[in-house]
Amino acid sequence: MKAFNSYIGRPMERVEDLRLVRGKGTYVADVNRPNQLYAVILRSSTAHGIIKSIDTADALALPGVHRVLTGKDLGNKVPVIPLRLQPLPQLEPFHQPVIADHKVRYVGEPVAVVIAESAAIAEDALEHIMLDIEPLPAVATREHAETKRSVVFEEYGSNTAITWKAFKGNADEAFKGADYIRREKFKVQRHAAMFMEPRGFVAEWDEVAGKLTVWGAAKTAWHNRRTLAAQLGLPLEAVDLIEVDVGGGFGSRGEFYPEDYLIPAAARIVGRPVKWTEDRREHMMTANHAREMECDVEFACTRDGKFIGLRGQIWSDIGAYIRTNGSVGPRNIAQYMCGPYCMDHVDLKSSMLTTNKTPCGTYRGPGRYETDFVRERMIDLAAQDLKIDRVELRRRNLVADAQMPYPLPSITPFDSSTELDSGDYHTVFDRCLKEFNWEEKSKLRGQLIDGYYHGIAIGSFIEGGAAGPKEEVRLVLETDGALSVYMGSSSVGQGLETIMAQIAADAMEMPYHKITILHGSTAYVKDGYGAYHSRSTVMGGSAILVGAEKLKELIRKTAAQRLGCKPEEIVIDDEQASFGGKHLWFAGLSETPLEVEAAFFNKKYTWAYGTQAAHVAVDPGTGHVKVIEMMSVEDVGRMINPLTLHGQALGSMVQGLGGAFLEHLVYDDEGQLLTGSFADYLLPTASDFPKLDSVTLELKPCPNNPLGAKGAGEGALIPVGGLMANAIADALSHLNVQPMELPLSPPRIWQLVEEAEAARAKA
């Protein structure tokens, strides 16, 4: 790639913004089809029970109600949702049926679909449906699950769906000889992606053409199309999933949910377009939950602070069904607990427990957030016990540049091995110390100022990205010289249209404004994959590079025919193809558009990495924690757009802080979800965390893709839980307060202080 243009690396303002700041975006709730009806879903308010009867007669009688669908309207067998990731046969018992069949297993499970003239009328109809459910005891805690208070899948007979094992070296042997072993239990609370735009679909069935069109796709449209077509018994070509503007995803939106089937099915049944949007209360009980886990782990070191390994057991409360990507988080907790540190011996078992709660899926940095909390806490505890400085202890153990590629633990079943690709972890670590002014801030440690105790902490993290296997693009040089790029990548709000245009502009050596990026819809390319695991830049961007080379070949070939020479003799420069003093502009080069298809294949994850530091102040009377300042430094190999990348880092940090302090999906002992609105599920606001910053570096490009980039949308969230807990422990070190559980809510901090003071009084 000639260094002609350099859009890559420039903080380009986003082309998406032109419509979005004007309120001219088109989100699925803004899509309307002629003659459409509206769907509202009746959901179980019982966590666990047998459906005795569903009486829909009164609801149907309401003026404006057209149909009420239940399981028996969907054919002989209610379709189930297959797993997209780790689709092991032994996990089949846990697939979710698209509508509750004979049993309900969580509050929020779909039981019936009302289709009416308006959403309001459909909602009115819900109250007239008589649902008779014989309740069963609910499995609402790990204790319930393990003692089998009830069994969520009675044929299976146990609430432990599967246990993954992450392993490296020989932990049992290594632990035998270890100078230092510390064993601790940790807990992370259930919370969720909670994107701002509620989910929705508009589905339309064209009887004449035999074609189903569904608006509202996101993330993994091609996979979802395969699933939906199979469930409906339609050929692939008969189904189009269209992505419009998407209001955030964070790993949760876009996976195949029950409604991905129910709304299109309803459209086919009633013969009119059907529109559905969830409301926020519904969203909280239906969109994937995440992160709920407990663990009991041991950490071993040598006397002089060389990490030996990790051993132990993890339990993830994954809810009532295994969702399309429900195994990813629990696997990641085990596989990546070692993080960016050298650990030769790992033996971690990670069990997935079924409970009568909303099913779980991935949420940004899945499993990574939880596991970093555990590991970084253990490191600070070890530092305390071994009397080694926390900074020094980390430095001693970070994987070194010379050790790359460095193998991470493997995981089984659905075996997977990976290695850290490249990185200078020590330089980034030191840069963070410098940017944060660690030396200066250390003077504040444990100080009581205006009623607040001050503390600081540091932590390092790795961020896996660029999951394969491939991404597809279609490049079209239009007759007017503009370039249309059709992609399999999807937008979830990350600025895809801008970033990809930068890459395409550089690759084709064309002006940026002549490039349009079209994304996410199955109509655009044959087989796309989508946006997850921080892969769009690497996979989609690299596919564009591959496509650009192919397109330039085609341009050379076309120009050569017209100029009477060989293709290799054509020079492409400045939107022209030239030979022997004669120039042909891209515009008008051919009478019809020139089109190529290309794909980029990848089997190796990229590993962005970084270090984060924080300064907090704790009020022991109220338990309030002020985040005074936070600094995140990350090496991403190659930055395409520093402006959007910075945005990803800041957004990630605040999500991490939400998880550390505020967000919690609370259930009672009967599986009732007590957090049903934004009044109870607390999201960070503009006044909560004012002083955050991040620095992004391009130290060590990734050797495994032509861009040299690493997936970088999740990293800054990953260390936040551990960082906050460590900083609080540092602030309250005079009391030896040791947080082992998230969230670090005011009552929890207060409780820890009370217990510590009581213990001190006794001593």
């Binding site: 960070p684 606001t685 207060w750």
Partner: protein
């Protein structure tokens, strides 16, 4: 979350509004700012047949400050209180407390009357009304009555208002310039309902002893409460660290807050004691 079906009326006088309410026999509700009622309708926690909008009613949106204190019309909004500079000295406790209410957009609509009639146990205005011995003016089919705050708040989200009654005014007694006061609340985020809050004032007698202590708390019971036992500890004594500690301890003993998903009762009890101690210290500064 679309509201259930209801009818709507926007009468021009209080009398009209009252008769509309009376005609529906308990199945009509008043709406003004709607900041508390609309979410309830969205969640279908309320399903009135008729909403009676006070928007055209005149003369209920004035803030009158005089010798007898501060009279807040029921339609006075939070932004009106925020924007009325007379209150900074005229009733500093009210002015300070209202700073904590909700958010910008809500403050443009939410009203004194609405908040007091809704009677959320964690809300600031009911807390101020209780602490200050406010007098509520209420108009219904049976006529006009005036009721003390202590009798007005009867339970969680419950007041003595009959279905055909409208709160028209909240009257806070006169505020002497030399009065000592403090308002402190602790919320998870700015603008959230308080996990607990304390509103207090007292006067100092000739020898600098506390007199007429009023200590109110929100978020620690099913309604805003006065901590009368704490007031008894304070009255007749000079402020000191020892007195503050004793008052705080008494507060912690006498409240019995419920446990909910946000906090255990013990936390709220300790919190109100902490806020009281800090408030007393602040008031004496």
């Amino acid at each position: 979350m679309k509201p259930p079906i209801f009818e709507y009326a926007s009468p021009s006088t209080v009398a009209e509004a009252v008769s509309l309410l009376a005609a529906r026999n308990g199945n009509a509700k008043v709406i003004s700012g709607g900041q508390s009622l609309m979410p309830m309708l969205a969640f279908r926690l309320a399903a009135p047949e008729l909403l009676v909008d006070l928007r055209h009613l005149k003369d209920l949106d004035a803030i009158r400050i005089g010798e007898d204190g501060v009279r807040l019309g029921a339609k006075v909004r939070w932004c009106d209180i925020e924007g009325d500079s007379r209150l900074v000295t005229g009733h500093p406790l009210l002015a300070e407390a209202i700073k904590h209410v909700a958010h910008y957009q809500i403050r443009n609509r939410g009203t004194v009357g609405g908040s007091v009639a809704h009677a959320d146990p964690s809300a600031e205005m009911p807390g101020i009304a209780m602490t200050c011995d406010a007098q509520m003016t209420i108009v219904g089919s049976a006529g006009t009555r005036v009721e003390a705050a202590a009798d007005f708040f009867t339970g969680p989200l419950q007041t003595s208002l009959e279905p055909d009654e409208i709160l028209t005014e909240v009257h806070l007694p006169a505020w002497p310039a030399a009065r000592r006061w403090a308002f402190l609340e602790f919320a998870r985020r700015k603008g959230d309902f308080a996990m607990a809050g304390v509103a207090l004032f007292y006067d100092l007698d000739g020898s600098g002893r506390i007199a007429n202590a009023h200590v109110g708390a929100i978020g620690v019971a099913d309604r805003p409460i006065r901590l009368s036992e704490v007031e008894a500890v304070l009255n007749g004594n000079q402020m000191s660290d020892k007195l503050i500690a004793a008052a705080s301890a008494k507060a912690r003993q006498t409240v019995d807050p419920p446990t909910d998903i946000h906090a255990p009762g013990a936390y709220r009890a300790a919190l109100v004691a902490t806020l009281l101690g800090r408030g007393l210290k602040k008031s004496a500064a």
